[in-house]
């Protein structure tokens, strides 16, 4: 049976917002009876891009763009909260808010811990992404956001079809759920969700040169990662969990080793670390 889902590869997203604009284009001014009423021109983000700025000047800085839309959960809180069928799951797994039945039901917004349900003041209804169900039913292969994505960061397909790209990515274990702790069997999963990094720049203090090939060990007490600085003296270890303490040891022959304790509340930018001669 068809079970629609999406895989979002954050490592390929350049923040172009084509998905967001395509969504506005599809739904602003357009009613699709039984599927959705028109989206307001402003203030609703059926696909919203969370921009997380990472790092600190001068090094390293970047942005992770995480598009968030309805996760079309198989065990959706919103469906459970909608006692009178205002929100339902179709046979193909798409979760729909009935634009008629949901009138005035503002409380349904807070049933979703992902906060992807938006209130339409004018129409007095809660609204969200439908995976463009009206288009899929008309024979389209993918929703508007996926069609408009220039880098294939958004991938859409049938999770029950083992040959679909999304099913393969899920089967290969390359994906993760944004909030697995919600236990809602989400059908949107992600590749490359931003975690925490520890980064710094090592300088030979005596010569003021970038310290290339310096050994950096990063340890959480049990496991240890060893890396080398690059030609700018930079090192970076990404993909670490948040709120964890690490010991960073920096050593190079002929120089005094240095040890730091860091905590991954946020990405850790250690700045310039000057090594001194033994």
């Amino acid at each position: 049976m068809t079970r629609y889902g999406m895989v979002i590869d954050i490592t390929r997203c350049n923040g172009c917002y084509n998905c967001f604009i395509a969504c506005r284009d599809e739904y602003c001014g357009n009613d699709y009876p039984t599927y959705s009423a028109a989206q307001p021109d402003k203030g609703s983000f059926w696909i919203k891009i969370i921009e997380k700025e990472r790092g600190k000047y001068p090094h390293p800085v970047g942005v992770a763009y995480t598009p968030i839309l309805c996760q079309h959960c198989d065990e959706a809180n919103c469906v459970k909260a909608a006692k009178n069928g205002e929100i339902y799951r179709r046979e193909d797994g798409i979760v729909i808010i009935d634009p008629e039945k949901s009138k005035g039901k503002k409380e349904l917004m807070s049933a979703c811990p992902y906060r992807v349900i938006y209130w339409n003041d004018e129409k007095n209804i809660p609204q969200k992404c439908t995976f463009c169900a009206h288009l899929l039913d008309a024979g389209w292969k993918e929703p508007r956001c996926v069609e408009a994505c220039p880098t294939a960061a958004l991938k859409f397909g049938d999770l029950d079809d083992p040959n679909s790209e999304v099913a393969k990515l899920v089967a290969e274990g390359k994906v993760e759920i944004l909030h697995p702790e919600y236990n809602m069997k989400e059908k949107v999963s992600y590749i490359g969700l931003p975690k925490r990094f520890i980064a710094g720049t090592v300088v030979f203090g005596d010569t003021d040169e970038c310290a290339d090939k310096v050994t950096v060990t990063i340890s959480d007490g049990q496991e240890k990662e060893t890396l080398k600085t690059n030609n700018y003296g930079d090192f970076e270890l990404d993909g670490l969990p948040s709120n964890k303490e690490y010991t960073v040891r920096i050593s190079y022959t002929g120089y005094k080793p240095q040890t730091f304790k860091v905590f991954t509340r946020d990405d850790v930018c250690m700045g310039d670390i000057f090594l001194t001669r033994k």
Binding site: R12, C13, N14, G15, C16, Y17, N18, F20, I21, A22, R24, D25, E26, C28, G29, N30, D41, K42, G43, F45, E51, E53, G55, K56, Y57, P58, H59, P60, V61, G62, V63, Y65, R144, E147, A148, P150, T151, A152, V203, D208, E209, C210, D212, N231, Y232, G233, D234
Partner: protein, 834 residues
């Protein structure tokens, strides 16, 4: 009524437009079908790279529905309420007064009547007119075509455009490597394949290709940079701002102070010279004047060696980083990506930017520019490209070129765009240089004076499409100009209310290119940017199908000019009996397209994908020069191609000129663009006296989510993109980015409304506190579609629309270089409290 689907094209790519009951319901990127020509594949690093079977358009291309029905559309002909062509004109109220609706008949009567009056009283030169770039798309109905034919026919004072996006390259680089026929940009053929196969590192220097996408290429090349990452090609960014491309690709970000790029570049050259890590043989055989250059870098001319330590002080980048970068560059096959088409970038829009552009050429040259994997490449052009099918770009003369009798402007008088306010307010004015100098290097030295002896000053301004306010520098000059009684009459013909529409006496509503038929090729301007369609993975030639009836009472530009031509008694000459549809067919027939597809089929389907050549043989740019062969690229503008000078560059000597022979000949004593490249501290930079009063440097790049003034606030959807505008206290404020330390010392918090100001004016913006901007620099994009002064019509009023050019200086790059320098701009910022 059932749904109909039309094909059209925009400045951000081709689109499929769905229409129901005469209204646009959706706008999709063009997705190709199985009958369209197959794509290319590049094999590199054991992988195969093939582009998707669709147009990867810009986000703003998908806003066309909202843009067509924008609240900013001009729906009817309008007359300023206190303008009376037979009585009081009240020019002082331009920008202040409201408008009343008038009929088309009355509007055309007034405009044609004023044109007749002014022409007979002062001569045709008393009318000045110009359009702006990019407000529409199409080869027939757009400015280089219909507008140009009309005004050339009746005669007018034309405005010479400055090359606003690539000033330093235009005025500097041709003196180093030629390519004047590309207005200073290098050829870019087949550099994608070359990079994927041979390049080890790309250095983006003041370049944000994900935002500027080869001008019209939308998101087509975004994938190329992902491919490079997947192949392990290192991507390094030099920019005061961790720009949008850097934000996802940067493996190293080096953030120098604006205005110090030339010093940084010279320090890199110093490392190569002293460590002997440049291509000596290439320099010997391919260049001229290297010894003088070497002497200057080593400090023998002025006693100042251009060492990394010297540059570190100026640029605020540690010397060790400059050394590490220089060494890595010398050790790796490197693409220097110094602007979206190779040569652009914010660094070229500031004081003495000719020197930076020339240094970019010289650094590339020192590493053997043209050898496999080593070149100047913007990363937005140069996929496999079938150049054998000829189809005109929009800037190639349009209908006027195809007319039986092309119209030639009889008026010799010109005004330089950046000097238009001064020309009106304080004539006479003088300048040197033709604006776009694409026919010869000598054009840069042509001397102009306005008014031309024997010519009248201009009395009427016919403004067509788009805006100079918010794209050109020092806005308040333009406000004063518009309010001058010397401009007896001002017309504005546009689709939208833009930044300067409300300075007109009569406003004529034009329809967009979704409301009429036209013909074009995606991303193709032609002429000076020949084969610009190489910004796209496929060549897409479009029959732009009219999707809906013109909104309100708007009319096509061709129709409007036909009506004016009729009143002026030149309709037959203007049209030669042709309708717009006739011109489209004439344009089609003038191209190679009939060899591939019939007009009927083309018109019905709406587009044609140019097939790739079988057995395609890449001819990478400048490989011929590197190897000492004759030019083998299809670079049509290169006049030495296929001649006995075919092995030469377009410089006077045919070589790379470290000492420019053209500058030596024409301006040998110019110490601000000297024959030998020099580092000259900015006239408005961090070391200026003015920095004591205004300690922050403002950079105002092209916007990521709009095309100059052409989308932005016309399209409220874009205002919901938090990097573009942010809604606060009932208003969409444009974003200004400030480093946390600069914000903290001024008590500014994220999302505070702030006043950015200097002696030239003040703009209200919303603060986004960001680590992406280096300390001492603030960042806010040019191109606001809104100029919204708190006191309308008052020069010097605080603007809250986001018109950042209120702040930028009107001073030119240097004394003989008439380019604009908005990125040489000192400001202060404070929290705004109403």
């Amino acid at each position: 009524m059932s749904e109909k689907v039309f094909i059209n094209c925009t400045g951000g790519g081709p689109i499929r437009v769905h229409v129901k009951n005469g209204k646009i319901t959706r706008v999709r990127p063009l997705v190709f079908d199985e009958n369209d020509a197959p794509p290319w594949t590049i094999e590199a690093g054991g992988q195969k790279f093939t582009p998707p079977r669709k147009a990867c358009v810009a986000s703003f291309a998908l806003t066309e529905k909202e843009r067509v029905y924008s609240k900013d559309r001009i729906l009817y002909p309008l007359k300023r309420v206190d303008f009376d062509q037979n009585g009081e004109r009240h020019p002082e109220n331009r920008g202040k007064s409201g408008y009343e609706r008038i009929s088309w008949d009355e509007a055309i009567n007034i405009v044609s009547g004023e044109m007749k009056r002014i022409r007979s009283a002062y001569g045709p030169e008393a009318i000045v007119s110009r359009g702006s770039s990019h407000h529409n798309w199409g080869n027939v109905g757009y400015r280089s075509s219909t507008w140009a034919r009309f005004f050339n026919l009746i005669g007018f004072t034309d405005i010479l455009d400055n090359p606003d996006s690539w000033e330093g390259w235009h005025w500097g680089a041709p003196h180093a490597y030629g390519f004047f026929w590309r207005l200073g940009n290098p050829e870019q053929y087949d550099l994608l394949e070359d990079a994927l196969k041979n390049t080890e590192m790309v250095i983006y220097w003041s370049n944000d290709p994900d935002s500027t996408h080869g001008i019209y290429g939308g998101n087509e090349s975004a994938l190329w940079r992902i491919w490079m990452r997947d192949l392990g090609i290192k991507q390094v960014f030099l920019d005061p701002y961790c720009n949008y491309t850097a934000a996802i690709h940067s493996e190293k970000w080096i953030a120098y102070r604006p205005g110090t790029e030339t010093a940084l570049a010279m320090a890199i050259a110093y490392v190569w010279l002293t460590e002997d890590t440049y291509d000596k043989q290439y320099i010997e055989t391919h260049s001229l004047g290297f010894d003088e250059f070497k002497s200057y870098i080593l400090g023998k001319e002025d006693g100042v060696a251009k060492t990394p330590e010297w540059a570190a002080e100026i640029c605020d980048v540690p010397a060790r980083n400059i050394i590490a970068l220089a060494r890595e560059w010398a050790s790796k096959r490197t693409m220097l990506s110094s602007g979206t088409k190779g040569g652009e970038g914010g660094a070229c829009r500031q004081a003495y930017a000719t020197e930076w552009a020339r240094m970019m050429v010289f650094l590339a040259a020192m590493q053997g520019m043209g050898k496999p994997g080593s070149n100047i490449w913007g990363t937005t052009l140069g996929p496999p490209f079938n150049a054998t099918l000829d189809f005109p770009g929009y800037a190639q003369g349009g209908i006027n070129r195809l007319a039986k009798k092309p119209a030639v402007n009889p008026v010799k008088q010109r005004i330089y765009r950046l000097l238009l306010p001064e020309a009106i307010l304080n004539p006479p004015i003088k300048w040197m240089g033709d604006g776009f100098c694409g026919n010869s290097i000598e054009q840069q030295f042509n001397k102009y004076v306005y008014p031309l002896p024997g010519c009248s000053e201009v009395k009427m301004f016919y403004r067509y499409g788009g805006a100079f306010i918010a794209t050109m520098t020092e806005t308040n000059r333009w406000v004063r100009m518009y309010q001058s009684p010397k401009l007896e009459f001002v017309v504005n013909q546009d689709c939208w209310w833009c930044t300067e529409t409300k300075f007109a006496d009569i406003i004529l509503p034009a329809c967009t290119n979704l409301e009429r038929n036209d013909i074009s090729e995606w991303a193709s301007a032609g002429g000076y940017s020949v084969h610009g369609a190489g910004a796209c993975n496929h060549r897409v030639i479009v029959y732009q199908q009219k999707c809906v009836e013109p909104v309100g009472e708007s009319k096509s530009d061709y129709q409007i000019f036909c009506e004016l031509a009729e009143r002026l008694g030149v309709k037959e000459e203007f049209t030669e009996g042709n309708t717009e549809e006739d011109w489209i067919k004439i344009m089609f027939d003038s191209s190679d397209l009939p060899k591939y597809i019939s007009f009927e089929e083309f018109k019905k389907k709406g587009y044609y994908i140019v097939p790739q050549l079988e057995n395609y043989k890449p001819t990478p740019s400048l490989r011929w020069f590197y190897e000492g062969r004759e030019c083998d690229t299809p670079d049509l503008g290169n006049a030495k191609r296929n001649t006995e000078k075919g092995k030469e560059l377009g410089t006077y000597s045919g070589k790379l000129e470290f000492v420019s022979q053209s500058l030596l000949k024409h301006t040998p004593d110019d110490d601000e663009r000297p024959p030998l490249v020099h580092y000259i501290p900015s006239w408005e930079g961090h070391q200026s006296d003015l920095a004591k009063k205004y300690p922050l440097q403002l950079i105002s790049p092209h916007p990521r989510y709009s095309f100059h003034t052409q989308h932005d606030s016309h399209v409220p959807w874009l205002s919901d993109i938090p990097g573009h505008r942010i809604w606060k206290d009932g208003y969409d404020y444009q974003v200004v980015r400030i480093h946390p330390t600069d914000a903290a010392t001024r008590g500014i918090q994220n999302n505070d409304i702030v006043k950015l100001y200097n002696d030239r004016g003040a703009v209200l913006l919303i603060a986004q506190i960001s680590e992406r901007i280096r300390p001492g620099v603030v960042h806010s994009c040019e191109g606001s579609a809104k100029y919204d002064p708190l006191e309308p019509g008052k020069a010097g009023s605080i603007d809250r629309g986001g018109c950042i050019n209120v702040l930028t200086p009107s001073r030119m790059l240097s004394k003989n270089v008439p380019g604009m320098a908005p990125n040489s701009c000192l400001v202060e910022v404070s929290k705004w409290e109403v």
